[in-house]
């Protein structure tokens, strides 16, 4: 506040105002891990926000240069640890592309099922924490209740509940256990009414609408130039889904819709993810019903040595476009260079733009809406 009247020097100077620098994180309940956001505040209004990252940097990309091709799969688990199967999928497909390995159709179907189950598990976590940040605590418990069932399915498939190591270059390490497909379908039947339960609590709730409608609006052009991907990009009406545009796994064989937003606000991004739940169920049903017979592992040599060259391949992880850029020198049994294009990292770049001019309470809502996992941001 500046007052240019002569009286300012005497009485009004007592009301000198200053910006408040507020450190949100790295230990804060709503920064979804160890994200640190340095906020410059005018009262409660955000003037600018700078993200400070790197608190869980483990040098995964560098580690990959010293691991052989199969060992890297379990490092990809540790990036987006709430969607490990999607990270597995992206990496395995990239190496397969580099080596030009044919993956059996059954394996591609099961991979699709795993990736879509993973999408639902990840969206459950997003929904719960996003609602929790805005104050609706019950949704968190409901969403985790269903996420637990998905984790049970994963446990039954590969024995792990968080870091699955569930795929191999050329296919899958295991075929599905008997009856697993039935239980996946049963889960899909169970999940649909639960989605209505979540929506009952939030979708038409006036407080929820007030907290998300027109909060963090971003236009399609801005979203593209910021490099956003996944639901934040589609929320702004840009039709970009790797599953449709550059089909991987078995996505080209299934029918599904890519929901798009109109306004590009937090509410649109919420609706899109809720719709993606339903589309995932649709894909899983088609995949399980049309599951072909056959082997789950393609013909790959015991010692992997991809030819010299480089390749980029992306999959649609729950958070957006997850890409791997791999360089092989053709001589050694490990990559010369491996670079990940993590969707969380790219979406996080949009945060400082999204929060500008909003209130402190919106910052936590917006961190929730871009759905980041710090393990993937920092790697």
């Amino acid at each position: 506040m500046t007052i240019d009247t002569p009286r300012a020097s005497t009485s009004a100077s007592a009301f000198d105002t200053d910006e408040l620098i507020l450190n949100m994180g790295p230990q804060h309940p709503s920064t979804h891990g160890v994200l640190r956001v340095v906020l410059r505040l005018d009262g409660e209004r955000v003037i600018s926000a700078d993200c400070v990252i790197g608190y869980v940097h483990r040098g995964i990309e560098k580690l990959c240069e010293n691991r052989d091709w199969t060992q890297i799969i379990l490092l990809t688990d540790r990036m987006d640890y709430v969607a490990a199967a999607s990270s597995n999928l992206g990496y395995c497909e990239t190496v397969e592309k580099l080596m030009q390995v044919e993956v059996p159709r059954r394996a591609r179907y099961i991979r699709t099922v795993l990736a879509e189950l993973q999408r639902m598990a990840s969206h459950c976590l997003w929904l719960g924490t996003h609602a929790m940040d805005i104050g609706a605590m019950t949704v968190l418990m409901y969403a985790f209740r269903e996420r637990e069932l998905i984790l049970d399915l994963f446990e039954e498939y590969c024995g792990a509940r968080l870091t699955y190591n569930s795929m191999r270059i050329g296919g899958l390490p295991l075929d599905i256990p008997s009856g697993w497909d039935k239980r996946v379908l049963a889960f899909c039947d169970l999940m649909e009414p639960k989605l209505d339960e979540y929506e009952d609590l939030l979708t038409n709730n006036r407080i929820w609408l007030g907290r998300t409608r027109d909060v963090g609006v971003i236009s399609g052009e801005d979203a593209i130039s910021l490099g956003l991907c996944g639901p934040p990009l589609r929320g702004s009406g840009v039709s970009r889904d790797v599953r449709k545009d550059e089909p991987n796994a078995a996505y080209d064989e299934f029918e599904f819709d890519v929901p798009l937003g109109m306004r590009g606000d937090t509410y649109d991004r919420y609706l899109i993810r809720m719709e993606e739940f339903k589309q995932s169920i649709r894909i899983i049903r088609q995949a399980i019903e049309g599951l072909p017979e056959g082997p789950v592992m393609g013909k790959v040599p015991r010692l992997l040595k991809p030819p010299a060259g480089e390749t980029y391949h992306a999959v649609e992880s729950p958070k957006g476009e997850l890409g791997y850029f791999i360089v092989s020198d053709g001589r050694s049994t490990n990559p010369y260079r491996l670079r990940v294009r993590p969707p969380s990292f790219c979406n996080l770049q949009g945060l400082s733009r999204l929060v500008k001019g909003h209130l402190v309470a919106d910052v936590v809502a917006l961190i929730g809406t871009i759905d980041i996992v710090l393990g993937e941001v920092d790697r």
Binding site: L20, L22, N23, H28, P29, S30, G43, E44, A131, M132, D133, I134, G135, A136, M137, T138, M141, Y142, R145, L201, L202, N205, I207, W208, G210, R211, L359, V360, A361, D362, V363, V364
Partner: protein, 340 residues
């Protein structure tokens, strides 16, 4: 001597201790109710179905280290939780539990005014506590609290005035008597103000949520935004004083709602002759069950609703609640004149 000091002192000891015990069990009830709403079990370890959790929590809080931040304003930091807790307990001195003497400590003719006045002192505890911590989150929180609590107090007080107009007295016992004797066409006597003043009931309930920092108005605490708000820097006994004060305030506002709108210690529908057998149950049990009914509503809302944002909260306070409260007041006054 006995009349003026000993008996009121004994009553005060009983009431204060009951309130403190009620608070611990209210916390347990809140955890249990919310757990059931979320398809969980809640506390189950300490005692059968976690009943003894209500004792374990206070013991834990008392035994914890009491930290004063180095840069805090020591004196204010220490006094703030006391300023918050004492008014919340003092208020119970005028809360009656029945028509006759041993059921109230003091029967002053401005009981309602006393409650409104003393509970607003509690705001200072929150503001000073947040300020004295010399920390940024508590500071933001105390700014929020001062704006929120003051603006909602206006709405609540204006609404209470319309009830006072209906009853014609500020005495809480008088308000219950008014509900007993107030004669309506068709319905006769014994009709609660919940039925004659429904708008006021809703307004006081919403205002009460905001004044006690409850969901969906828990912005001064806002765990996920301000990491606990004004009590971020508090620990141990001083934290538990804030905690006790908050829950004691919730009990106060529930008691006020029960007395003013739900006929206090009267059994329900006393105008219906068929329900006369309910008179067997003592009045104070009726009052306490009504208080817990309102408390249950408070908890239920917490399990259901998201949190408002600061600007939305102020909009609701000033642009919705206060105009409706004023309109209700004017309408009540007109009705009063017409009936007279």
């Amino acid at each position: 001597m006995l009349e003026t000091f000993a008996i009121p002192l004994l009553q005060a000891v009983v009431v204060v201790n009951s309130v403190l015990v009620a608070v611990t069990f209210l916390v347990l009830m809140e955890r249990k109710v919310i757990a059931w709403a979320q398809s969980r079990l809640g506390p189950m370890r300490v005692g059968p179905h976690g009943i003894l959790q209500a004792l374990a929590d206070p013991i834990k809080l008392i035994l914890k280290e009491d930290i004063t931040p180095t840069r805090a304003d020591r004196w204010v930091f220490t006094i703030a939780p006391i300023m918050s807790l004492v008014p919340a307990l003092v208020v119970f001195s005028v809360v009656p539990f029945g028509f006759e003497f041993p059921y109230w400590i003091s029967n002053i003719n401005v009981g309602l005014l006393f409650i409104v006045a003393v509970t607003s002192i509690g705001v200072y505890g929150i503001i000073l506590g947040g300020w004295a911590s010399n920390s940024k989150y508590p500071l933001l929180s105390s700014l929020r609290a001062s704006a929120q609590l003051i603006s909602y107090e206006i709405a609540v007080t204006i609404t209470l005035v319309s009830v006072v107009l209906t009853s014609g007295t500020l005495n809480l016992i008088g308000i219950v008597e008014a509900q007993r004797d107030f004669e309506l066409p068709l319905l006769g006597t014994g009709v609660w103000f919940a039925f004659t003043q429904p708008v006021a009931l809703v307004l006081v309930f919403i205002g009460g949520l905001a004044e006690t920092n409850r969901m969906p108005f828990d912005l001064p605490e806002a765990e996920t935004e301000l990491t606990g708000g004004f009590h971020t820097e508090y620990s141990g006994m001083r934290f538990s004083m804030f905690f006790l004060a908050e829950y004691a305030n919730i009990i106060v506002i529930s008691a006020v709602i029960a007395i003013m709108f739900f006929g206090g210690w009267m059994p329900p529908f006393s105008n219906v002759a068929a329900l006369d057998f309910l008179e067997v149950i003592p009045g104070w049990i009726w009052l306490i069950s009504k208080v817990f009914f309102v408390l249950y509503m408070f908890i239920w809302l917490r399990a259901t609703l998201p949190r408002y944002r600061y600007d939305q909260l102020m909009n609701i306070g000033w642009k919705v609640l206060i105009p409706i409260a004023l309109a209700n007041l004017v309408l009540t006054a007109i009705m009063k004149v017409l009936v007279a």
